[in-house]
């Protein structure tokens, strides 16, 4: 049994090498259709892998000369598993990458740039700017979009009506007033719900509030401009601390909730205001998953002042491994998965969006009638949605190789500030110093 497994992977590797040797690789070669099948190995974290399998199958039908071996990997320890695979040289030909890891993985030499590959430029023209930014590192592009989404702020319409709040808040100050009204009306003890447990999306709300206020955290050279040069971050953190301890409108148990838990709590009926990843919005209005379906609306992400700026956005991409022997086949696969199929449609992206609300990266899909219908059902206000998506920004230092370290460290600092173990200024100073140290260490 064990040798069986060992030899199967050796066999498919030999297949790939042999077919490459026969000269299958390039386009335009005579007799390509008669050549042996080329095998591409593809892996990603196990989010609804049956959807991926169905799409992969469709790709193979449209590309009869390619065989794809797809392996879903554990969702939680994806990063760790990939590190082990890279180190041992058994990494797949193409795979998912999170934008937070991109810089590090490029520096480690694990992924290769895709600039100049067939039809890429055209694809890029239709991609949202925040998404495109997040897929590039030092001027080179490394992948096609698996999905891209923004962080959104939501509220319960019915609760606001009950509390007689007529205007949906736009700035943080208006949010405070509205929350206090809700609290006074006895609807919720802590109207604002947010998960602060250290997790992959833990810093997203903070980023979004800073962006929505028109502020910045880092400059072009990836130096921190907070807390002193740009005082937005400090003001935002102080607002959060006050919200939790002075006005008591922010739920303190949020410190033990991560994104998914906070989402489930909100959908079960607690809290009136919350922020979360983009696909929570349609889910919140889906009676199958939410106890308050139909009542949830999206609002502009609140900042210190209303400057017409959107929140943060991020990307997950399909990348090609730097050691792959079937680069062209891998490119065709990730072009299909992260772009267009043989019929020139954004099939995969649309499939993901309609099934699970997973954000799409292409501007033109906004005009697709199926998608518009789905969005209406999800309760979006089309104008607000369009504004937020088009003004969203990628995190400024997202492609620094040290992004991950800094992100986690800062989450802990913010938690300390919320626990009142550190003053907001101290917390941010520590975070800024960490960024500088990390940058210096290279």
């Amino acid at each position: 049994m064990t040798w069986n497994n060992g030899s199967i992977s050796r066999r498919s590797f030999l297949y790939g090498a042999a077919s490459a040797g026969i000269g299958f690789a390039g386009p335009g070669l005579v007799g390509r259709a008669e050549a042996q099948q080329s095998t591409v190995s593809f892996a990603g974290w196990a989010f609804e892998p049956q959807v991926v399998e169905a799409n992969v199958k469709r790709f193979m039908e449209q590309n009869k000369d390619l065989n794809v071996k797809y392996t879903p990997l554990d969702l939680q320890l994806y990063n760790e598993k990939m590190v082990a695979l890279f180190n041992a040289g058994t990494e797949p030909d193409c795979f998912y990458v999170r934008d937070t890891n991109l810089g590090a993985w490029v520096e480690a030499g694990w992924v290769q740039p895709i600039d100049g590959l067939a039809k890429l430029d055209e694809l890029n023209k239709d991609i949202f700017p925040f998404n495109l930014d997040a897929m590039s590192y030092q001027g080179k592009q490394y992948g096609t979009p698996y999905y891209g989404d923004i962080y959104i702020y939501m509220y319960d319409k019915k609760a606001l009506e009950k509390a007689n709040v007529s205007k949906v808040p736009v700035t943080l100050d208006e949010l405070r007033v509205a929350a206090l009204e809700v609290k006074k009306a006895g609807i919720a003890k802590h109207p604002i719900l947010k998960g602060f447990k250290t997790n992959v999306d833990g810093l997203s709300e903070f980023w979004s509030m800073v962006f929505a206020s028109g502020g910045s955290l880092f400059n072009q050279a990836n130096d921190p401009v907070f807390p002193n040069e740009d005082k937005t971050a400090l003001a935002v953190l102080e607002w959060l601390v006050d919200a939790m301890h002075t006005w008591e409108i922010l739920d303190p148990t949020g410190l033990e909730l991560d994104e998914t838990q906070a989402r489930d709590v909100f959908l079960s009926g607690q809290g009136v205001f919350t922020s979360n990843v983009g696909n929570v919005m349609p889910r919140a209005n889906n009676p199958q998953h939410s106890k308050r379906a139909g009542d949830i609306r999206m609002m502009k992400f609140p900042g210190l002042k209303d400057v017409g700026r959107g929140p943060m956005g991020w990307s997950r991409l399909y990348c090609i491994g730097s050691r792959t022997k079937v680069k062209d086949a891998a490119w065709r696969l990730i072009y299909y998965m992260g772009g267009k199929d043989a019929e020139d449609k954004y099939y995969t992206a649309k499939d993901w969006y309609l099934k699970y609300g997973v954000g799409y990266a292409f501007k033109s899909m906004d005009k697709d009638p199926d998608i518009i219908a789905a969005q209406q059902q999800a309760g979006y206000d089309p104008d607000i949605r369009a504004q937020q998506y088009s003004t969203a920004k990628a995190r400024e230092n997202i492609n620094a190789p040290w992004y991950n370290d800094w992100d986690r460290f800062t989450q802990a600092q913010i938690q300390n500030a919320l626990l009142r173990r550190a003053k907001p200024l101290e917390a941010l100073q520590a975070s800024a110093k960490k960024a500088q140290d990390l940058k210096k260490a290279g």
Partner: protein, 298 residues
């Protein structure tokens, strides 16, 4: 157990003592069962009833659908956690095979090494024990990446053999140490007596020493089994398909990003406990049987 004299004496003691013991026993059972009961109850509920406020201590609407999903998952349940439902029972088989093999090999190899450390005076005896225990000092996180490379070099990726070998390295040091101690606490006269009667060393081992050291052997085997059964970190990194995935990997897989079917996870968790529990039931009697009557008095 404690000798006949103690038993006779106990029957004279007031029932108060027995009652006290039973109450303490009940307390222990409560301590052990209470958190687990919650898991069991949840596994028999529908997802919508599972986490209500206040909790349903006695579920009003009991269902077997979570367990049935392991045999025949349909619809949305089929795809939860990347097919975790249909992988649950096969992964349980993998876990049983891996943990069982680890336990059995442990007892054999560990007994041999433990015996040598207990009985034989040889140079490097204490250093050897230190070496065994020292090999366990390094946290798994540091070893994972080079271990993956090692396993790959032997061509054993995604195999149960790799898991068994890895778990052996975790569990041998303590099996050996345990065995050493138990052998040491057995008077050497027993062995001498066996030799006088004309036994060879293997015969002595099988007929005399093993039965006497049974509690220690069982304990070491159980320890090895449990360690192998519960590992998550190494199993996740070294396995990729259901050919070798173990139960903790699959059960943890239920916690996917979007679909949190916690009742399914609860049912999986319950299943994860049953085989070890069955084994425990089978062996606790052996531990109780204790000393053979002749060995001590001789």
């Amino acid at each position: 157990m404690r000798g006949q004299l103690a038993n006779r004496e106990r029957s004279f003691t007031s029932t108060r003592r027995t009652l006290l013991l039973m109450c303490s026993g009940a307390l222990v059972v409560l301590y052990v069962l209470a958190p687990f009961c919650w898991l069991v109850l949840t596994s028999f509920m529908h997802e919508r009833d599972a986490f209500t406020v206040p909790p349903q201590w006695i579920p009003t609407d009991i269902t077997l659908e979570n367990y049935i999903a392991f045999l025949n998952s349909t619809g949305t349940r089929a795809v939860v956690g990347s097919r975790a439902a249909e992988q649950t029972l096969p992964s349980m088989v993998n876990s049983l095979v891996v943990a069982g093999a680890t336990a059995m090999i442990n007892v054999v190899i560990g007994a041999l090494a433990g015996y040598s450390l207990a009985r034989i005076r040889f140079p490097g005896r204490s250093s050897l024990l230190l070496l065994y225990i020292g090999s366990r000092m390094v946290p798994g996180i540091a070893l994972i990446v080079p271990l993956y490379l090692t396993v790959k070099t032997y061509g054993l990726l995604d195999s149960r053999s790799a898991l068994v070998s890895t778990y052996l390295t975790f569990t041998l040091p303590f099996s050996i140490w345990l065995m050493k101690n138990y052998f040491q606490s057995i008077p050497r006269d027993i062995e001498e007596a066996a030799f006088v009667d004309g036994c060879t060393w293997p015969q002595m081992l099988a007929r005399i020493l093993v039965p006497v050291a049974a509690p220690g052997l069982i304990a070491a085997g159980m320890f090895a089994f449990m360690t192998a059964w519960s590992d998550y970190l190494f199993a996740v990194i070294l396995t990729s398909t259901i050919a070798s995935k173990t139960l903790p990997v699959v059960v943890a897989g239920f916690a996917t990003d979007v679909t949190t079917e916690r009742t399914l996870m609860a049912a999986g968790g319950v299943l994860a406990v049953i085989p070890p529990l069955v084994l425990a039931f089978m062996f606790q009697k052996l531990i109780v049987r204790g000393l053979s009557s002749g060995a001590v008095t001789g």
